[in-house]
């Protein structure tokens, strides 16, 4: 007997495909996030006296601040677009499990964040003469972005439905995402400073734990956030 409604995986992938296709046609999200990130990095150059010594110690912080702010931009816009074009109602009417919407949006938000990060890392390396092309650092950035995007997608769904909309997302997101930023910066710092693996293992574990917990919670709770 043929299944009438698509499986969770198929629905999720369909939503990811829709978001990526829409984005690659207009590039409005990624270009905004990219330009914003570049400006933030440049501002940091003037805000902090980044001589060679200081650079080593603040690189992780500057990077993650940039990713956090740019990520907020992307999360906000991604949800706002759904609401503006009425896509959200369409998605909710579709005969799929609501969690497909959550996973689909979260994955596409993650994809946008990763694309921006992939551009920012070489730019930062070049501007500040720091080698950021390390597999382990990329791993930490991936884990951190996953956690940030997981919570951010849920919270942006909520904030898009309030009166204050976009302004509210950073206020909601940053306090809850502090463990991610804390652990990611600690781990990145450790890696860049050449610390022992045992020291990096702790923040790494925290990142993984956070990711698992919050993906699970967000997935369970998403239904309550989108029901009309």
């Amino acid at each position: 007997m043929k299944k009438t409604s698509p499986s969770l995986l198929k629905a999720t992938l369909a939503i990811v495909q829709k978001d990526l296709a829409a984005e690659f046609r207009s590039f409005e999200l990624i270009s905004a996030m990219l330009v914003f990130s570049l400006l933030v990095i440049i501002i940091f150059n003037f805000a902090l006296e980044l001589d060679i010594k200081t650079r080593q110690s603040v690189t992780a912080g500057v990077l993650w601040t940039t990713f956090a702010f740019a990520g907020t931009l992307g999360l906000n816009r991604s949800m706002a677009v759904e609401k503006d074009r009425g896509c959200m109602d369409g998605l909710l009417l579709a005969p799929v499990d609501r969690s497909a919407i959550y996973f689909g949006k979260a994955i596409s938000n993650l994809a946008f964040m990763l694309i921006v990060e992939a551009v920012i890392l070489p730019v930062y390396s070049m501007l500040y003469n720091v080698n950021l092309f390390r597999l382990d650092l990329l791993g930490v950035i991936l884990l951190g972005s996953i956690g940030y995007s997981a919570v951010g997608t849920l919270l942006s769904t909520m904030s898009a439905q309030t009166r204050t909309r976009e302004i509210l997302l950073p206020i909601l997101l940053f306090p809850v995402a502090i463990p991610v930023l804390l652990a990611a910066v600690k781990a990145s710092n450790g890696l860049l400073a050449g610390a022992e693996f045992s020291e990096i293992l702790t923040p790494l574990n925290i990142l993984i734990v956070y990711d698992v917990i919050f993906i699970a919670v967000a997935f369970m709770v998403f239904d309550f956030v989108v029901e009309e």
Partner: protein, 232 residues
């Protein structure tokens, strides 16, 4: 408005007496600490308020889950009360901690993990209220509030645990003595009595305030309903 229940009237009196007694114990009964001197007395209230703030935090998260499961607005009222009272107590904790820190560490504030968690938790509370303010529909407000208090309730302990794993200068009075933690002290009997009584007094006060806030929440709902009816 329903008249104040007898139990609440009694609780009001009991909490006032307990706090007064705790104040007396902290200021006069407890001995002066050897190293820090008189400023250490702040510790009794600091821990008292910190304990109830954490309690309120957990209660808010539990109430959030309860609301999402039962959809009973009473849980929402309880959750708002817990968050509001807890936010106030947390602020007092931070203020008292700063007062203690200035003579002890020669600074009002430090980005020590436990303090950072306190600041972050306070920000979660503020964000909670900003979220609720931006929503008109009471049912949606309750839903979103419940989700956020759940998220906050999960995230703050993780932040705290991250902190425990790294070095701290915040005194570790109860629990394992980390070599890097300075300023910890072991308590004499009198101190212990004062300490536990302060915890008890603040717990009583906490229950009292939450009860009052829940009653206030009921009134708020009535007002909102009246406003809706008047506008139709």
């Amino acid at each position: 408005m329903q008249p104040k229940p007898i139990a609440l009237k009694i609780l009001d009196v009991v909490s006032i007496i307990s706090i007064a007694a705790a104040t007396y114990l902290a200021l006069f009964f407890a001995p002066t600490e050897a190293v820090m001197g008189q400023v250490q007395r702040v510790f009794y209230f600091h821990i008292g308020t910190a304990w109830v703030a954490m309690l309120g935090f957990i209660l808010a998260a539990v109430a959030g889950i309860a609301y999402l499961v039962t959809k009973n607005m009473l849980w929402d009222r309880f959750e708002v009360a817990a968050v509001e009272v807890s936010a106030m107590f947390f602020f007092i904790t931070i203020a008292l901690g700063s007062i203690w820190a200035r003579p002890a560490w020669n600074t009002w504030w430090t980005w020590d993990p436990r303090l950072t968690t306190a600041a972050v938790t306070e920000l979660i509370y503020i964000a909670y209220f900003m979220l609720r303010q931006g929503i008109e529909d009471p049912e949606k407000r309750a839903r979103f509030g419940a989700v956020y208090s759940l998220l906050g309730g999960l995230s703050a302990p993780i932040t705290f645990m991250v902190i425990r794993l790294f070095r701290t200068i915040h005194p570790v009075v109860i629990g394992s003595q980390s070599a890097a933690a300075q300023g910890g002290f072991s308590m004499t009997t009198n101190m212990r009595t004062t300490f536990f009584f302060a915890l008890f007094a603040f717990t009583v006060l906490f229950i009292d305030l939450i009860w009052h806030r829940i009653r206030l929440g009921g009134l708020e709902e009535k007002v909102e309903q009246l406003k809706l009816e008047a506008s139709i």
